[in-house]
């Protein structure tokens, strides 16, 4: 993976900084740090900037969508118009000029329609190669099926046939709309309604592509399903939409990875992920989010404003969110669980690293509605540089959720004196048989540990990486193997140059 990345760094931001000053090392590291900041030269069809009903009709038309979906979009758009951008959260969200964004970019659009899968631009293949995601099935990570989304369009889904033997549907959502319209219509917006919040409404109006997964009854998905998202084109927003339905007695593990090129301006990413878990089914959703965080001065970077929610509709259903967040200039994200089915279980494991000027306001909501429901929240925040890292979470136990239990643990680690670490948990308990526990600690990195490492000849930087990885271990361990290795590397890289 590293080898491939080396080629990828050339295109962007190679300007030489003159200073021989002591900060140079730090700066070099900071620049080096974002390894996925290259752009790809492919012919990309981008529709004109701006947002209005015609643009939405155009998107819908380009995707050949049925009328109900167009109406879904228009209704969301009309609602969105009535709302204002939210100001809550411990982040400084800039005024976003929604008219300065192009809402559709298709890097696969070469010559009209054509069969996209067979004619993938070689440049595009190279892009995903650089990212370490080979789309050729023979090169693929063992046991992982990949759906790759660049800008607005799903580029290729691997292993589709093999999965379809088991009745598993894994394809882009656009394809699903065409081939499985009933399923999509039944579940789309049923977990995150278009009027859920400002960004959900925006996404519902303009969502471009994303993955669709359906696991039929009593099926254990034989491989990890995976989507890689990449923003490439300039001045585009990415509004992907993922819908996962895991039917009775089934199991699936789903991975999501994200990268973007380095650009001076902010890029908007407003995604929705909806997960439906039926009786006795289990879904594991893992994210390694490494969107471009902006440079060391806080210029550019992705505004990551996503709504992720799982609906544990069935009895004994299980859902776990695991996320490693190192990227984005601003993250506003609360993967949540509605524990509707009796005995359902939900987990949220999160590591969020912020450095330089990054701001993250992330956490989860656990809404207990069913009886004997259980939820666990483990959050590890690591702040460095001038960043602000907040955990925000809600645990609500409804009136009829007898025997509900929640355990939350939110720890923050501070590296450096310019950053902030904040914890804002909310607990609303409407049932007297519930047991809810929350604990949180905030401390700085242990200097004795650092010294011990130093004495053994380990550099401070390396030691920080080691200690942080140890600190985040509870969460990393929840990731599938290939992802865990990647996540560990990311953590170390994200924090280079922060101590000493």
């Amino acid at each position: 993976m590293n080898e491939k990345n080396k080629n990828g760094k050339q295109n962007e931001n190679e300007e030489k900084k003159p200073g021989q000053d002591s900060n140079e090392l730090v700066r070099r590291i900071a620049e080096k740090k974002y390894e996925f900041g290259f752009t790809t030269d492919v012919h990309t069809e981008i529709i004109d900037k701006g947002l209005n009903e015609d643009v939405i009709r155009l998107i819908s038309e380009k995707k050949g969508e049925p009328d109900w979906l167009l109406q879904f979009r228009l209704e969301a758009y009309r609602y969105w118009l009535t709302q204002t951008q939210p100001t809550w959260g411990h982040v400084h969200l800039p005024e976003i000029d929604y008219q300065a964004i192009s809402y559709y970019a298709d890097p696969t659009a070469k010559k009209g329609q054509g069969n996209k899968e067979q004619e993938i631009d070689p440049e595009l293949m190279k892009t995903f190669d650089k990212l370490g995601i080979p789309l050729e099935e023979r090169l693929a990570l063992s046991g992982t099926a990949v759906d790759a989304v660049m800008d607005s369009v799903s580029v290729k889904t691997t292993f589709k046939e093999k999965l379809s033997e088991k009745g598993i549907i894994f394809c882009s959502i656009s394809e699903a709309v065409k081939n499985h319209p009933d399923l999509v219509q039944k579940y789309l917006g049923s977990v995150v309604p278009p009027k859920d919040n400002y960004f959900a409404a925006l996404n519902s109006a303009v969502f471009s592509d994303g993955s669709f997964v359906y696991i039929p009854k009593n099926t254990r998905c034989p491989m990890e399903l995976s989507t890689y998202f990449r923003i490439n084109a300039r001045n585009t927003g990415q509004f992907e939409r993922t819908l996962i339905v895991c039917d009775e007695g089934s199991y699936v593990s789903y991975l999501e990875g994200c990268t973007a090129p380095m650009r001076d301006e902010n890029q908007l990413h407003a995604a929705i992920v909806e997960i439906v878990v039926m009786d006795n089914a289990e879904v594991k959703y893992s994210t390694v989010q490494n969107w471009y965080p902006g440079d060391s001065e806080g210029r550019g970077g992705v505004l990551n404003l996503v709504t992720k929610r799982g609906d544990l509709r069935g009895v004994n259903s299980k859902l776990s969110w695991t996320q490693v967040e190192t990227g984005s200039a601003i993250t506003w994200k609360y993967p949540s669980c509605v524990l509707r089915g009796d005995n359902s279980q939900a987990e949220f494991y999160s590591v969020a690293v912020t450095n330089n000027h990054q701001e993250a306001d992330t956490g989860t909501k656990m809404i207990h509605l069913g009886k004997n429901t259980r939820s666990t929240i483990i959050s590890k925040g690591i702040s460095a540089g001038k960043s602000q890292n907040s955990y925000r979470g809600l645990v609500r136990v409804g009136k009829h959720a007898d025997g509900a239990r929640n355990y939350s643990s939110c720890d923050s680690l501070l590296l450096g004196s310019q950053c902030g670490a904040h914890t804002f948990p909310y607990m609303d308990i409407h049932n007297n048989t519930a047991t809810v526990e929350h604990e949180a600690t905030t401390s700085k990195i242990n200097e004795d540990q650092l010294f011990y490492c130093n004495q053994r000849g380990i550099s401070t930087e390396e030691a920080v990486g080691l200690i942080v990885n140890g600190y985040a271990k509870d969460v990393i361990n929840k990731l599938p193997m290939e992802f865990a290795v990647e996540a560990q590397k990311l953590l170390s890289v994200s924090l280079e140059g922060t101590v000493g």
């Binding site: 308990i429 007297n432 949180a440």
Partner: protein
Amino acid sequence: MTSELQYIELYNEASDLIKSKSCPVMNTVRDEAFATFQRLGFPSKKVERYRYTDVDAAFAPNYGISLSPLTVKPSAYIYNIQEAPIDVTPYYHRIADHTDAITALNTALVHDALLVYVPKNTRVEDPIVVDNWLRGTAATMMNRRVLIVMEQGADATLIINDHAADKQRFLTTQVIEVFCHDNARLDLYEIEETTPLCSRFSNVYIQEGRDCNVKHNSITLFNGQTRNLCDVYLQGENSEVTLNGCAIATGSQRIDNNTLIRHEVPNCTSDELYKYVVDDKAVGAFAGKILVEKDAQKTSSHETNANLCASSDARMYTQPMLEIYADDVKCAHGSTVGVMDEAALFYMRQRGIPEAEARTLLKNAFMGQVIDQIKYEPLRQRLAVKVEKRFRGELEKCDDCRLCK
């Protein structure tokens, strides 16, 4: 959002009267405070620090405002502000939050204030006790203001008891400002034992200099609707603050405590423990923020909120928060909402203790942790008895003989 109108009208009509009964130091800030209130209106539930209390509804009924003069029995250290032995200008309405609507309303309407003043290096052995008796023949609004000035090295214990003497609707707003100069110590107890007809909105602001130690104990034994705010500003190094809270709510009582501890300088310690037992249809809310500013290195802070929901209709909201901008700190908070320990209940019942009694013992033990923090021994003993009575349902039975306690 219409309740503010009657207060705006009231002020427009009665401000001259209020001013005539008041003193220059209070009148100087009055109009501005009123303008603030007029601008803000009552906070809706969208205002973060008021999300658990419906302020508008509480202020909606028509109350008569009490303008009777504050009578202070002559005793050392307690004064009517109009007879203050010191210039209170540097203190009055200085640390109170000028962006809080309740504080603004209080500042606009209050005509008299109590001053507790302990001079330099004075150690007051016996506790200073303030008994507030709510009395009235009609629904009455009381606006109460207390200024506490602890000069350098002063040391005192202050107990403020809130009672309602009449079965009447009472609405109280209260603002307490506490100034602790270097090396001062203060143990402040606020004990509310009123009736379900009472609404209380209390804002306490505490400022500490160097090497200070303040303990604030908020005990809500019996009430109607209570919303207590306590903000602490640690502005001198090596100071400590302890916030203790005991909240017991039954029936349809509501208790909402909202605290903020702001560490502005290095090397300070804060400790916070709030416990709630909510039963019947009662609602409890706790929100506590520890804020550590950028330069407040070596801060040590610990916050715990533990709650027992004793009935299926009771509700508890809890929100412990850490907001930290310094790196060399040790901060932790924990919050639990739990049920009674079934194994302990069973153990006690196996020994023959009836279930109801076993539950009372466990509730009492749960709250005991807060009561044990009370430093002043006679008060601790008295409150231990009262808390137990409260859990046995014996406190409210004594409704009619409240005056003779």
